[in-house]
Symmetry: C2
Subunit: 428 residues, 2 copies
């Protein structure tokens, strides 16, 4: 629109020069000021917020980061501003991926890499994020438009491509490897990959890339009937990869593409997708900023508000070669990991010896009772059985106590176990 | 901008009439066509989607309701289009309320009533929904702007007021009572009130209004440290009201306003607020469209991904007079409720007698085993004890069986219990 207004101004100037009657110049002046005013109007919409150099914790209405930096004062996060160092790749900018991207953008993530090949349709309007005026744009372009308006501090990289094609996969891999944003970073160029795709084939491609790059990632999904979903953390070699436990339909050899019928679409709800995106990005924040417990798997079954959790170990017979390599590396690194864990525990034990009581005031006279104290049967050990009964198997404590052994024995057992597992992997 | 362009066109016409030299008319024509073009440009941004008369389940990219109507085909919802009949009031258009409003708008809710008195600030940008260019607008105006663009089918009513003032409360009450949207509706003019406010005082005002109007509502909240939240269903007389179990700080007589310190702000996260809004609107959809289990209370503790649930009965000593009246009505309606439940159960029992097997194919040869079947100890009843042991207390089944009684006795017990509870209420 600004181009058109500039051309109009030029036309008015040449018209003025052609006018023989100077009394008409006032009319031209008036028209000129009208064009100036319109130019001003066109420029002032939309007002963009300016970039912010450092995240401030100052409590003023104009600070977009005050409520995030408050996480430090509340003792939840040690150093919130570290979020600016992190790069997150989001594959699939649909009902879950777009909301995840918006959440990370509003949290002030350093850099977002967005992958999708689809276009925005009116049929997407029952989920959050995209707006009707973006219909026809690619999802990546529409997302960059909205996200850069919301937070110009975030570095946005948009990849309009299909990762399941040969060319797409190559670009996907090289973009994940690129370390220009933080050259000193170890491993790949991103801290986490979030898979927000809607089909098995694309998930297997993300799985392949992450196994090859030894890249930690998180999976997400929503059921076809729109009322359940899940998120899952995948650390190559340490947890099950996506190929370690394939879905039943895949194990049965059915081609997923034959399942989708023309004219039939899956249901979706902004609620389920919003919850799944929220749980996914919450797990991402906990993982990146090191607070709380990062869930290995969290399900959401909305009909009964049931949230199952579980953990899955890698499958030593996994069909993915890169997964088997990562498993081998993970097993070999076990002694170093154990030593580091021991050192950390000892360091923490020293810190937790505090001199001051936890609560100095006790208005409600609350006292703490030991959970393990026997309640009302003095003189009876919890191991004792009523007369006439004996234990068929040794009780748990006895198993742990015998054979009379110390740390050295355990270490040898561990190593032998390790060799056995390695042999099993090499046999594949 | 369209007004300015129209004025410019008028100026050009009068200039044309003042021109003595007809050779200059061509220049005016050119300027006119430029203004026409600009008018067209100004009108076409943004492209608004047109209203939709009926919700179609047709699977085409241009249908904004196809993925919602698919909930019927998937067997989740019986009649999705009923959503257009419902009115939902949202009090507090902040981090939770605004997202809840957007979700309901995208779901195609019939009518939304929005209440808030605050303005949009840059400090709100760490939560979803509001955009930097809306800074300075009232939250209600900004919300109506965004929501009407997203879905012009939703009837939006915006109330820029503080419900905790005398005038604000009066307008709040009369807006809830207004039945012009659906004159045949029983009770108040809205189907559900969602409380998304951030303080105790405002919650107590919503509680008061809903108790007076016998209006079912849902509460929501997010903790000051941003990492937990909850939703709660409140049915006057049937569940605890918000005054039935006041928070400890209120019971201790502390004025909440003295707790907020100058220059100190609570933390907030788009993730936690997005999850709470999603759970709140999911519960709303289940309540309105009658599917799944409507949770009476659902907590979200993000550090451990823990989701506690519970149910709270009303307090017969509640300090809220309207709550006590609703409790009395609820107890009096018990016989009618029991009869209706019994009739419903009998009707359902008739329907579930199906002639066809549930699964006709059984590719994996799965067979069903009775949970109650004794596993490997034939001849031993589960009540039997090892030799030498006796039951100290009667076992559960015996308690239920004795005294030898039928339905009539139970009914008399129930009525006496009912009278005792009524007496307790009248004593207040």
């Amino acid at each position: 629109m600004e181009v058109e207004l500039k051309e109009m101004l030029d036309d008015l100037l040449s018209l003025r020069q052609s006018l023989s009657d100077p009394s008409l110049h006032a009319s031209i002046d008036k028209l000129q000021s009208r064009v100036d005013h319109l130019t001003h109007l066109a420029k002032s919409v939309p007002v963009r917020r300016s970039k912010v150099k450092d995240m401030s914790s100052e409590v003023v209405d104009s600070n977009p980061y005050s409520r995030l930096m408050a996480l430090q004062r509340m003792g939840i996060v040690e150093n919130y501003e570290r979020i600016r160092e992190f790069s997150v790749a989001i594959v699939g900018i649909g009902g879950v991926g777009s909301v995840a991207a918006e959440m990370l953008t509003r949290c002030g993530i350093g850099r977002l890499l967005l992958y999708d090949y689809d276009k925005v349709e009116l049929a997407n309007m029952n989920r959050l994020f995209f707006r009707p005026e973006q219909v026809g744009m690619t999802k990546t372009d529409a997302a960059v438009q909205t996200l850069s308006d919301i937070n110009p501090d975030v570095v946005l990289e948009s990849y309009t491509l299909n990762i399941t094609t040969v060319q797409g996969f190559e670009t996907f891999m090289s973009s994940l490897k690129n370390k220009t944003f933080r050259p000193t970073k170890e491993g790949s160029g991103v801290d986490l990959v979030l898979s927000c795709v809607d089909n098995y084939e694309a998930r297997m491609v993300v799985n392949q890339a992450c196994n090859e790059l030894n890249q930690t990632w998180m999976e997400s999904g929503v059921s076809e009937d729109a009322v359940s979903g899940h998120i899952q953390l995948l650390i190559p070699g340490e947890t099950a990869c996506f190929a370690c436990a394939p879905p039943l339909v895949v194990a049965s050899g059915v081609d997923e593409r034959t399942l989708k019928r023309e004219g039939v679409c899956a249901a979706s709800l902004p609620t389920t997708m919003g919850v799944v995106a929220g749980l996914l990005v919450q797990n991402t924040l906990k993982f990146l900023l090191k607070f709380g417990h990062v869930s290995p798997y969290l399900g959401y079954s909305s009909l009964k508000d049931f949230f199952p959790t579980m953990a899955m170990k890698p499958n030593p017979q996994c069909s993915n070669v890169a997964c088997l390599e990562r498993q081998k590396e993970y097993l070999l690194a076990k002694p170093a990991r154990d030593a580091a864990a021991k050192a950390k525990m000892e360091a923490e034990a020293k810190v937790t010896v505090a001199d001051v009581p936890l609560h100095t005031d006790n208005e409600w006279n609350i006292s703490v009772v030991d959970d393990n104290e026997p309640e009302s049967t003095p003189g009876t050990s919890s191991d004792a059985l009523p007369e006439g009964l004996t234990h068929e198997l040794p009780i748990a404590d006895e198993v742990l106590k015998s054979p009379a052994s110390g740390a050295p024995d355990m270490a040898i057992d561990d190593l032998e176990d390790l060799r056995r597992q390695l042999d099993a992997l090499n046999a594949n």
